[in-house]
């Protein structure tokens, strides 16, 4: 029994050292994140997070028509290279060398404690990071699907609004639209959304609202005033 306890004691110590080092790393990273410098410069236990950081910046630059600034890119590249060398080269080396030393001394060496604690960190931290990334990604995916549906609704409403404005101009009489049904428009006959058209002969305006059975909390409305300078005004509700 005592032998078994002695066997696991060094590992327990490594876990405790690992927890202390992890907290220290998190504190350093958090204080760095508060500063003006992006944290992709810092070595990380998950280097792909840093690479993803650059990738996102590149995508945003592409979005705004700019190019990545070389100063930022150089700093991040250095941070990623250091992370890769630490995780895949230095820490495994410390662990193997520490184990050899401990076996020679027949007692765990300081190098073994350092190597095994760091080894546990680089094995456990990516698992935690991976789980939280999957959870976060699922939420983002859900909300981006919702935004995509809102965009499709808005764009379809714009198309329909233009078609109705043209109809009013061609009839030159808004009351002629009283019997008009938005669903009769060829362009939206296969639409998955519904429309509500209300005409107001008093001020020659028409209001068209798009809604969906699947997106209950979102509607978009266009008020069409075909004879005024601003033909359309747009409202949305969540």
């Amino acid at each position: 029994m005592k032998d078994k306890t002695n066997k696991w004691l060094p590992w327990l110590s490594s876990v405790l050292i690992g927890i202390i080092i992890s907290y220290a790393l998190i504190t350093i990273t958090d204080s760095y994140s508060m500063s003006k410098y992006p944290d992709v410069f810092l070595p990380s236990t998950v280097p792909s997070t840093q690479v993803n950081g650059i990738s996102v910046i590149e995508s945003i630059n592409e979005f705004s028509g700019d190019k990545t600034t070389s100063a930022f890119y150089k700093g991040a590249r250095a941070g990623i290279t250091i992370s890769l060398i630490l995780i895949f080269v230095v820490i495994p080396f410390l662990f193997v060398k520490g184990t050899i030393q401990s076996e020679k001394r027949e007692n765990p060496a300081a190098l073994w404690y350092t190597g095994s604690a760091l080894m546990l960190i680089i094995l456990i931290m990516p698992m935690i990071a991976g789980a939280s990334k999957i959870y976060w990604f699922q939420n983002v995916d859900k909300s981006s699907q919702m935004s995509r549906t809102h965009d499709v609704m808005r764009m379809e409403l714009t198309d329909v609004s233009f078609i109705i404005a043209e109809e009013i101009l061609e009839f030159d009489d808004i009351s002629a639209l009283a019997e008009f049904n938005a669903e009769d428009i060829i362009e939206i006959q296969n639409s998955e959304f519904h429309y509500l058209l209300v005409t107001n002969p008093d001020d020659s305006s028409a209001t068209i609202t798009i809604y969906s059975d699947e997106v209950n909390n979102f509607t978009a409305t266009t008020v069409i005033r075909p004879y005024s300078d601003q033909i359309f005004s747009y409202q949305r509700t969540y």
Binding site: N52, I80, I87, P92, V96, E103, M155, P226
Partner: protein, 215 residues
């Protein structure tokens, strides 16, 4: 130099270099996966070195378990992050195209609807052509080099507009191109000689205004 340090420096050099070279060429993800591949070879060499020098056979098993977990973990999270980055990039492109598309339609189609309104009004008295009405309506906004000047001047920083008249069919068209939005067909030839960019065509005829996304 002792063999263990040769292994250490060799591993550090190859892992670093396999990331740095592709990333200098702009291939950051390829660099990451190549670096992981280089690390696998280093870890195999290191494991063999350790196993040769270990006295206890359990140490070899623990080392093998740790190294295998490290490689599997890293491969899984790198792949997931790469997938996530691709999705994010695609999403941003899609958002950009949605914005460009909405702006183009609202700006250009509204303008041409205004011309159509004018055309319907004038046509009640005289037989006028769509092209003449458009020329009067836009005036100096139609430039000699076929460029079309939009009402919101800031848009010209992000989008390009040209007009085209066809007297045969009495039609007036405006082509809008977004230089920052690569669209669905990479081989599509845009009116300005560029390739694969988002482009719309808004056309005014006697029958009204049509708006189509060409790419």
């Amino acid at each position: 130099m002792k063999r263990e340090y040769k292994i250490l420096f060799g591993g550090a050099f190859s892992t670093g270099l396999l990331y740095v070279i592709p990333s200098l060429m702009g291939y950051i993800w390829a660099g990451l996966f190549l670096s992981l591949f280089g690390s696998v070879i280093y870890l195999i060499v290191l494991f063999k070195y350790g196993k040769k020098n270990y006295k206890n056979t359990d140490s070899g098993k623990v080392t093998l378990t740790f190294f295998s977990l490290l490689i599997i973990n890293s491969l899984a999270i790198f792949t997931f992050d790469y997938y996530r980055a691709s999705i994010q990039r695609e999403l941003l492109r899609e958002i950009r195209i949605t914005i460009d598309s909405s702006i183009t339609e609202t700006e250009i189609r509204s303008d041409l609807l205004g011309v159509y309104r004018e055309y319907l009004l004038l046509n009640q008295k005289d037989n006028v052509s769509v092209i003449d009405v458009a020329a009067d309506f836009f005036g100096e906004r139609l430039k000699d080099d076929q460029k079309f000047q939009v009402k919101t001047a800031e848009l010209e920083k992000e989008l390009n507009f040209v007009y085209y008249t066809d007297p045969g069919s009495d039609s007036f068209a405006i082509y809008s191109t977004a230089p920052h939005s690569q669209s669905w067909d990479d081989d599509f030839e845009n009116w300005d000689g560029s390739v694969g960019l988002f482009q719309t065509k808004t056309t005014l005829t006697k029958e009204g205004v049509t708006h189509e996304r060409q790419n």
